[in-house]
Amino acid sequence: MSTVTATGVRAARARAWTKLADVASRWAFMGPAAVILGAMLAYPIFYTIEISFSRFDLMTFGAVEWIGFENYAHVLDDYRFWSSMKVTLVYLVFALPLQIVLGFGIAFLINADWRGRGTVRALFIIPMVVAPVVAGGIWRMILDPLWGIMNWAIGLAGFGPLDWFGDPNLAMAAIVIIDTWRWTPFVVLIATAALLSLPRDIFEAAEIDGAGWWSMLWSITLPLLVPIIAATFVVRWLGAVKMFDIALAATYGGPGGATNVINLFIYEEAFRSLRFAESAAMAVIVLVLTMVLTGLFLLGTRKLEQRY
């Protein structure tokens, strides 16, 4: 049995103290974010869940009596909800991959080492900054069958005018175009930063070994970029699900609901029809679905990250 000396005890206490300090300093990194978000979001999320299970009283803007899943039943019964989910799915399937691929592609293009690189990169941000309402409005002007420059240009090429907002498919295409126009610059922004942070020595070594740019891209650049691509995709996916102001400004959700994405529908139910309880139920459903799908994405990207 070892004798416990005074210095031994002091040393043990010192070790325990540094261990505590170490854990504290680790947690301190997470601290500010967790505190701010916890304080700001706890009540709103709780409130939303509560009123989704209750009858909502406009006089007090609060829940009045517990009615269980009745609001959910109403929502699931409403054809407009399902139609809206389908529209959102179509929009996501087209818009997301397009933005990621286009964004990284353009980042690669403008990353070439030349004088105007910084200016081009800075200018590229501009579409992101245009307010969604204004963006929707400008594109409405551009795509308008009567006044739009797009149809005028198409006319010059010999084709007939396209009814961008009257045809459901073209209206969806219009939404995808506008959203891609607004958000590809974001992907470009992040991708440029990622490309710039890539260590140069690997590329130089590969070049000396005679690798062509295609094989360099495939076996070096892409694997190194996987964490960023995955992060960008997740951020974009979460942002795209919440899109509603572009649809509102450009197509008003029409024609006949063909571009009525789920968040636009929730907004209409809350602010126009003042049906806060049903709107909250829909929000919870969307939250659960988003959580499940995001969880799947994260699992998938973790596997990818481990591979590379």
Binding site: R26, A112, I126, P132, G137, W152, I190, I228, S279
Partner: protein, 286 residues
């Protein structure tokens, strides 16, 4: 055959390839900027010239839209408010978010991963559902129509994004960076601020730009949580666009749209300079 001769055609090909790359990049830039150009052009037109068939490029320009509208909707005060709120929430979110992202990427911590995922998933809640309860809380605390309320509200959606993006950037860094510093006696915080942050400047700055832009154009929380003192530009824009009395004043809409774009572009151009500077430093440090 010397190595130089072997590589000569490669170099020529890559020079041409480089030219094509640059040209393609510039072309993409022009395509993306065309609608913005259209917007700026329209802001100088009289109302009646904006909707002509076919669209006009030649017209008598007027500054009146800018002059008259600037006073009408209290644009100058709203612009200042938007700058305050965007800067405040941008800075706060980048600090809190980068630290959290670092925690997720580099620090082994039980439970941090779960918290991180939870934070990210909080983005799944449709913001419309959050706006009303936030207003109710703000009202009971008496903090409606204040800048700080808006800044904190914006942080709720900025921090998750910043955290997740920075996590991605931090994961790409070589693992030994801070360990060697800490062995030399640096604290974890010290290692973070003195080593990690400078090296990830491109990512940090880009994420901050993104964060400030998101805050700059946020509409829903601004509508619900402010009345007049902290009202922001997006509210003014929504008011112009949804004008149910006189009809959407497209001249004013494009004018305000142009005004809101300019500060951010200037900011981004400045930041780009630091970005390139930081890279040059990073490159020499190797």
């Amino acid at each position: 055959m010397t190595a130089a001769a072997l590589h000569a055609p490669l170099r020529r090909r890559s020079r041409l390839g480089r030219k094509i790359r640059i040209a393609a990049g510039v072309f993409a830039c022009i395509v993306f900027l065309f609608p913005v150009f259209w917007m700026v052009l329209s802001s100088f037109k009289e109302q009646r010239d904006i909707f002509t068939v076919p669209p006009t490029l030649v017209f008598t320009p007027t500054l009146e839209t800018y002059v008259s509208y600037m006073q009408r909707a209290d644009i100058s005060r709203r612009l200042i408010n938007t700058v305050i709120v965007a800067t405040g929430s941008g800075l706060l979110s980048i600090v809190a978010g980068a630290m959290a992202g670092y925690a997720l990427a580099r620090i082994r911590l039980r439970g941090a991963g779960t918290i991180g995922v939870l934070i990210l998933l909080s983005r799944g809640v449709p913001p419309i559902a959050l706006a009303v309860p936030m207003f109710l809380v703000a009202r009971s605390l008496g903090v409606t129509d204040m800048h700080i309320t808006l800044i904190l509200a914006y942080c709720t959606f900025l921090i998750p994004y910043v955290m997740w993006l920075m996590r991605g950037f931090f994961l790409a860094l070589p693992k030994e960076l801070e360990e060697s510093a800490m062995i030399d006696g640096c604290s974890r915080f010290g290692a973070f601020f003195k080593i990690i942050v400078p090296i990830s400047m491109p990512g940090l700055l880009s994420t901050m730009i993104f964060s400030m832009i998101l805050a700059w154009e946020e509409l829903l929380f601004a509508l619900v949580l402010t009345n007049r003192y902290a009202s922001t530009i997006p509210v003014a824009i929504a008011g112009i666009a949804g004008d149910t009395v006189n009809g959407a004043n497209w001249g004013a809409l494009t004018a305000v749209g142009t005004i809101t774009v300019i500060p951010v572009v200037v900011f981004a151009l400045l930041v780009q300079k630091w970005l390139i500077q930081g890279l040059a430093d990073g490159a020499t440090k190797g």
